[in-house]
Amino acid sequence: MAKLGPSGYSPYPVAMYEDILTPPPGKALLFNEIVDEEIAMREAAKAMLTRENPTIFPGPQVLYAWNEEAKEKARLVRKIAETLGAKIIPMYDYRPKYPKIDPEKEINPNHPNLTIWHNNIKACIFIGVHCHYANVALKIIRAETDCFTIAMCGNAGHEDAMITLRDQHTEELEKFIRVAEEVKKELGK
């Protein structure tokens, strides 16, 4: 992920074609650099704490109580939002919405830019979104908006986000909360 958007219409910018891969296990991606997870977490917290209208987009994997981990993650997502002073706008499913979405209340992977434009969101976190839909949405956001995107992924991460953390489970989310609290103090917020 080389640049913050917007970077124009088709052909869509795809980080992979700029030779940017998902980070290796144990590491994270900060723009086009492979860094330690903690560094990426600090930068993510900083972006959320300093940019306008920071928002968390929780996906179905944390919105619904479909297993025990999902319940725990939901609690942590709420805590992250409180720590960062971020709004929560859910991506509750992936179906294209008809006839139109309410961009204040929801985000849809097929036109995520509408929610970001409407709410003037300058930093966001994707969490609990299935990887394919996160990738589709992140590419559109990068193309159409100047929003700083952060992906907290339970699998291998998302190179089209400006910061991607991989293998994020409850332990890592707790760590992120600790890091965010530190950064908040440092920023005097």
Binding site: Y12, V14, Y98, P99, N110
Partner: protein, 401 residues
Amino acid sequence: MQKTEQVQYNRAGQRIVSPDYLLFEAPREKQFMTGSEVVKEAVKRASVDASVSYPITPQSEAAHLIGELWVEGYVGVYFRGESEFGVMSEVAGCSMAGARTITTTSGPGTLRAMENFPMWAGSRLPIQLVLMARGVNAPLTIQPDNLEISFLLDTGCMIWHAETAQELFDMILAGFVVAEQPDVHVPVITAIDGFFISHTREAVMLPPDDIALPPYNPYKSPMVPLDMEMAPGRFLRDPYVMKSNYISYAAHTSWQFEVRAAIERSKPYAKHYLRGLIEEFGDPEAEIVFVASGTAAAQAKEATLMLLHDEGVKARVVRLKTIRPFPTKELIEALRGAKYVFVPEFNVIGWLEREVRRALYGNLDVPVIGSPRVAGGMTMPPEFIVKEILQFLGKEVKHVV
């Protein structure tokens, strides 16, 4: 002695081992078998959930043998579909429902099934298709010819091309492992040249058959499996109802790029499990280089030895194991110092030559010669390749082919 790790078994009762153990560490024993039989041996060790089959030469035998595995309890679901179009739709259903799925086809069958392949890729289904290539044109031929691979290049599926039965065995196992990575998760087509590999016997080294790959976990898929067990409950597998009132064109563009990006993401995994995306053979200093895949590479290797021993001409082979993803960087690196690049192929249009030209254009200035090329079932004896090279170099041709 206390064991900390619990031994786990798959549904067929085989001990589950890591992909690395199965592919690289397990002891192997020598067997003598055909490519079709090797498919059975690979599937037997792959904790496969489902397979659907349809007869067409030369892949039929491999499909029969997967059926035997179903009888023996190694494969969960197996049946004969109504046509290749039906079969590829049926395996799509199997994969959507969360199964590790494999099928096989050849030639005209591939083309009949064609509509399904971009659908597989766009639906992020990690189905494995073992493709035993044969001719597709009128006049009809059942003979070896890999023109059909050309049609598959841009379907959004990974395409690997095995040179030997041994490599086919290893590729089938590696294919599941790579295709099912959550950040890859697109179909993989493991291709061989029909008859040359499917119907000839060769020595292969096989690990024991009481161990197998870890089962597929559909809940790590980048898309929701269609089993009503994973959120969101409201889910549509395919929003390709491209009415602009539903979905922005941006989504469709982004979606297609995502499928291609997924293929690229497979590179580090494929590099590990295939021990490199390319293989280099022969004198690394040689200025004459064959770039080839599959059986053409095997023939080029023999020709390289003949050129050196009989004619004193140094040559080398760069063999591509993966066509999608295309190993552009590795190829450019391997071709530094080359004076002539020959691309021998078993098809009339020279799809690999096109691919090589595209990769080199603007990166490396070296003449690419799309030759020798045979089609329609013709063989490519190494003498034939040697003759072409000697003629090209303006040397005397002593061999009678």
